[in-house]
């Protein structure tokens, strides 16, 4: 394991190319197997969701456990735009992200002064409010009946209707998400977020308007959750409030915690494990959340910083102009 980490650190670009090669090859290897393709799609979908939450919890230190609410807003935005207004996938995708981000701003303005557990409770409440509103606002959302009949997305006239096509769609979304997050984190904006996580008062003294940056961070993180919601709506061609319960939010949170908050690789690792584990223990399906709980307990005990957290892959997250791993940090 250590040798692998060191190799990855030393050959950042090469490792990235290898990973890209594997990700592109996978669907060809399992092309005939819809079950495996669906798992691969889910891993990537949850990678986006966990990354979106990690931007908030892992980098600005705000404790959001209601990510399912923003995921839900994104999914319903896409569903309504597509079925009622005939908006295409490529327009619905950023629109869903933006609506989710906008709603996070509305939540962020009154709650920006809350921290830790108090903010957590607010986001939890928000997530439930979103779900219950959708469940009861029948004229607009069709309530418990959900919204069916979301058409397949098209790509230059080519209709994406198979799992094979959806795999490449979510792979693209995940790649864009990671690329943008990586770039933003390595700018003054990302540094400001991390500074807020480390010491809000000191960040303020350095001239960072922390309240504004916290809302900014919330909006940035939830944007990707909204976009993931849009993908989900098109993937299943049907949305229902049942898919966005608190359990869903906790699952996303688990992925971040297990994978390693505050690292770009962490949530991907977390998403991989927590999508694959329940599949391996299918006969324990009802105990999905128990598995997640156990995963958190084991992680906290064995590696509190998460599987890939705590600077193990530090050379990948920040721009690696200077060799990491020289200092005591690694």
């Amino acid at each position: 394991m250590k040798a692998l980490v060191r190799m990855v650190q030393r050959h950042g670009t090469l490792s990235m190319l290898c990973a890209a090669g594997v990700l592109l090859a996978v669907p060809f290897l399992i092309r005939g197997n819809d079950y495996l393709l669906r798992i691969a799609i889910n891993i990537l979908l949850y990678s986006v969701l966990a990354t979106s939450l990690n931007m908030i919890n892992g980098y600005s230190g705000q404790f959001n456990i209601g990510q399912a609410g923003f995921y839900c807003i994104g999914a319903y935005t896409a569903a309504i735009l597509a079925t009622r207004y005939g908006v295409g996938f490529w327009l619905a995708l950023p629109a869903s992200g933006l609506i989710a981000a906008l709603s996070s701003v509305l939540l962020g303005i009154p709650t920006a002064r809350l921290r830790g557990i108090f903010l957590a409770i607010c986001t939890l409440g928000f997530s439930e409010i979103v779900r219950l509103t959708i469940l009861n606002w029948i004229e607009f959302t069709r309530g418990p009946m959900g919204i069916p009949g979301i058409p397949f997305p098209t790509f230059f006239g080519y209709e994406i209707s198979s799992n094979f096509g959806f795999y490449f769609l979510i792979l693209t979304i995940a790649a864009v998400t990671l690329f943008v997050c990586h770039r933003v984190l390595n700018s003054r904006i990302g540094r400001a977020w991390i500074a807020i996580r480390e010491d809000e008062l000191a960040a303020k003294s350095m001239g960072i308007p922390t309240t504004r940056y916290k809302i900014y961070n919330l909006a940035f993180g939830t944007f990707w959750a909204g976009a993931a919601g849009c993908f989900y709506a098109y993937l299943s061609s049907y949305v229902s409030a049942d898919s966005f319960t608190l359990d869903e939010g906790f699952a996303i949170l688990c992925m971040v915690l297990v994978g390693g908050p505050g690292s770009l690789i962490g949530p991907l690792v977390g998403a991989f494990f927590l999508v694959v584990l329940p599949e391996m223990f299918r006969f324990l399906a009802e105990y999905r959340l128990v598995i997640f709980g156990l995963a958190i307990l084991v992680t906290m005990h064995v590696r509190p910083q998460g599987i890939a957290g705590g600077g193990v892959f530090a050379a990948i997250a920040p721009d690696s102009e200077e060799p990491a791993g020289k200092g005591a940090a690694s």
Binding site: V184, R188, R191, E198, D199, P209
Partner: protein
């Protein structure tokens, strides 16, 4: 005589019945090293917190370069040219040493979200500026070699120097140092003293709170003495050293006096 850059007028902070800072008038002249001393609980740090907007002023005013800045939000203090360090070190522990300093450049750069994503010319110019100046500052405080270590892994004395470098990154006209030599051994103390002199020689005004008398007497042009929230004396080190009020505040009253 040079101009007054930082001034307080009857500045007060009351916590209920406790007058932590009580009607303090102080003028700091540009380019000087101005010391603030006083026994524990004299209100020195509260005074700094009032200057930098971290706590609300009860009464009185703070003037910076002749402009009233009373009640300014703390995030705007850096932008007007005042920056500080903290008595209990407040570094961004899980950021690298260089990134800590880079955060200090926040108000001097402007990159937005889009610029950061596409890495346009303005972004690249900002990043180059921040990286070069940041390393230069680390050189200045003697931390260049540790630039890529985590701040949390620095020794105590080094952390204090990093805090100074971070404060300098905002390009302050006035630098407020809250006990920069606390917990240091004599050789580290003299290093900090040299560093403060070096900063001062570059034309920055410095206000320093310190308990170490030797350091403060050697360093400062003017010293203000606070005791129980009140200013009891102000003057050159020699004047302060011989002031009877100061002596009694530190040593207690002579019997029968």
């Amino acid at each position: 005589m040079s101009d007054v850059i930082l001034e307080t007028r009857a500045l007060s902070k009351h916590f209920g019945g406790l007058k932590a800072v009580d009607s303090v008038d102080m003028s700091v002249r540009e380019g000087t090293i101005h010391g603030i001393i006083g026994p524990n609980g004299a209100g020195k740090t509260t005074f700094f917190n009032l200057l930098t907007g971290l706590i609300e002023v009860t009464r009185g005013a703070v003037l910076f370069g002749g402009r009233d800045i009373t009640g300014i939000p703390p995030e705007r203090v850096a932008g007007i040219g005042m920056s500080r360090t903290f008595q209990n070190i407040k570094l961004f522990r899980f950021m690298t040493v260089l990134d800590n300093v880079k955060v200090g450049f926040h108000t001097r750069t402007k990159t937005g979200l889009l610029g950061a994503v596409v890495r346009n010319a303005a972004f690249r110019a900002d990043e180059t500026f921040v990286a070069e100046q940041g390393l230069e500052l680390l050189d200045f405080v003697g931390l260049r070699k540790q630039a890529y270590n985590l701040a949390a892994n620095l020794s105590y004395g080094t952390q204090r120097r990093l805090e100074i470098a971070r404060a300098l990154a905002t390009d302050p006209k006035v630098l407020l140092l809250d006990e920069p030599a606390a917990g240091m051994n004599p050789s580290e103390k003299s290093e900090v003293m040299e560093l403060i002199r070096k900063i001062s020689s570059l034309g920055r005004t410095i206000v320093v709170i310190e308990h170490d008398m030797k350091l403060i007497m050697n360093l400062c042009d003017v010293i203000t003495v606070l005791n129980q929230g009140l200013k009891i004396c102000e003057g050159t080190p020699a004047e302060v050293r011989n002031d009877p009020d100061v002596i009694s505040a530190y040593l207690g009253h002579a019997r029968g006096a």
